[in-house]
């Protein structure tokens, strides 16, 4: 009986954990895929997989990297299932315009469109850092890169982003 109650509490806690992380997981999947519908599918699949494998999450403090690993795998699987051919960034921006240019956040639309234009290899570590709050070491583990390689990608990501956003980059260092 006690085991049953404990199990119920554990599952309820896991459900709450899924719910609290879900908005940022959706955002991460959105920036990964640049496709809101696909992002919702990927996160739904991710949460179901996580739900089934919840016993393998031994430390709740490590939940975020655990979910990120699942979501990145699930996103890769979505490529195996579908053969995407759309790479026209302007088309992607136009399609996701309602999300990128929400009326009350008009000043951010330009930066969001610029983020869409960043190469995947720069956009992903940038999202892991800015959106998901991962350290350089955590990003390196997640992307299977060295720490210096992560820092180089983050440097290039911001440098390109600032150019795309029309920032004054005269004082930015060269490569």
């Amino acid at each position: 009986m006690n085991d049953e109650v404990g199990g119920n509490q554990k599952r309820a806690r896991f459900q709450a954990l899924c719910q609290s992380l879900r908005p940022d997981l959706l955002r991460f999947a959105f920036w990964l895929s640049r496709d809101r519908a696909l992002a919702e599918d990927v996160v739904q699949e991710t949460l179901l997989r996580a739900w089934k494998a919840q016993d393998s999450l031994l430390d709740e403090a490590a939940a975020k990297p655990w979910f990120l690993t699942i979501i990145r795998r699930e996103y890769a699987r979505s490529f195996e299932r579908k053969r995407f051919v759309t790479v026209d960034v302007d088309e992607l921006v136009a399609r996701e315009e309602p999300t990128l240019a929400a009326a009350e956040e008009g000043d951010l639309a330009e930066m969001r469109a610029a983020l869409f234009k960043l190469p995947d290899e720069y956009r992903e570590p940038l999202m892991l850092q800015v959106l998901m709050g991962l350290s350089t070491a955590e990003i390196a583990r997640e992307l299977d890169l060295s720490g210096p390689a992560v820092l180089t990608r983050l440097f290039r990501a911001r440098k390109q982003l600032r150019v795309l956003c029309g920032e004054d980059t005269r004082l930015d260092p060269q490569e």
Partner: protein, 236 residues
């Protein structure tokens, strides 16, 4: 001492890097201090830009019971259907039988998502950025609150709420303005390394104030909460 090019390269890779060599260079280089302020302003916009609003998906509570659209293109549909059915039965029963997570637990969980916010710094968030974060909650923050070093509008329990970090004598303190969450009386908590209090605010929900680490006792946190509350005025 580190040269300017190396400093700016490091800052572009991680603008919130607390490395002492970076701080030392910044303190001794007027041009790089100005560069950093502009970069942090850019970073603040980036921080807001990545947090796109996803109202349809994020507003609905997730349950394992929800039918996944992605399942439509799974190879083994029957196996998936069986899994989902099982999840529906199990999770649905659990959802109905179990109480919701406490507000304090959700606040603590949210903290885990933004570790960079706790940086100890004297660089304030630009006034316009802070106002942008506060305006949806009809909040104004007086100068008595201290230096606000981090301000973000965060998704929390289906609403966007101001999440601030204020630099106090006791170190960085996080404040969440929870206008949609009511509590009957102050709720203290000490979980996962976070120590804090959620205080009721008449007519405006509640305010969560918390510190990270063991250096600040609960009594001090309660005093800080009272000070922050005194410095807040409501415009709506």
């Amino acid at each position: 001492m580190m040269d300017c090019s190396t400093y700016r390269r490091s800052m572009l890779a991680d603008p919130r890097d607390p490395d002492a060599h970076l701080s030392e260079h910044r303190e001794n280089c007027h041009e790089c201090t100005a560069y950093t302020e502009k970069l942090l302003s850019f970073e603040s916009r980036l921080d807001r830009a990545v947090r796109v609003r996803l109202p349809d998906a994020a507003a609905t509570p997730w349950r394992a019971a929800a039918a996944p659209r992605a399942a439509l293109y799974r190879r083994n549909r029957f196996a998936m259907a069986a899994s989902v059915l099982l999840a529906v039965v199990v999770a649905g029963a659990l959802w109905l039988a179990s109480p919701g997570p406490s507000l304090a637990a959700d606040v603590v969980t949210h903290m885990g998502g933004e570790p960079g916010a706790w940086l100890q710094t004297d660089v304030p968030v630009p006034g316009a950025e802070l106002q942008g974060v506060l305006q949806d909650s009809h909040v104004r923050l007086g100068a008595g609150a201290g230096v606000v070093s981090y301000a973000s509008s965060c998704a929390f329990r289906g609403h966007h709420v101001p999440h601030l970090v204020i630099q106090t004598e006791s170190g960085p303190v996080t404040v969440m303005v929870l206008v949609h969450e009511r509590v009957q009386k102050p709720v203290s908590f000490d979980e996962q390394g976070y120590r804090g209090v959620i205080v009721p605010v008449a007519g405006h929900g509640s305010l969560a104030v918390l510190t990270h680490g063991a250096s600040t006792d609960l009594k001090t946190v309660e005093l800080i909460a009272a000070q922050v509350l005194d410095s807040i005025s409501w415009s709506g």
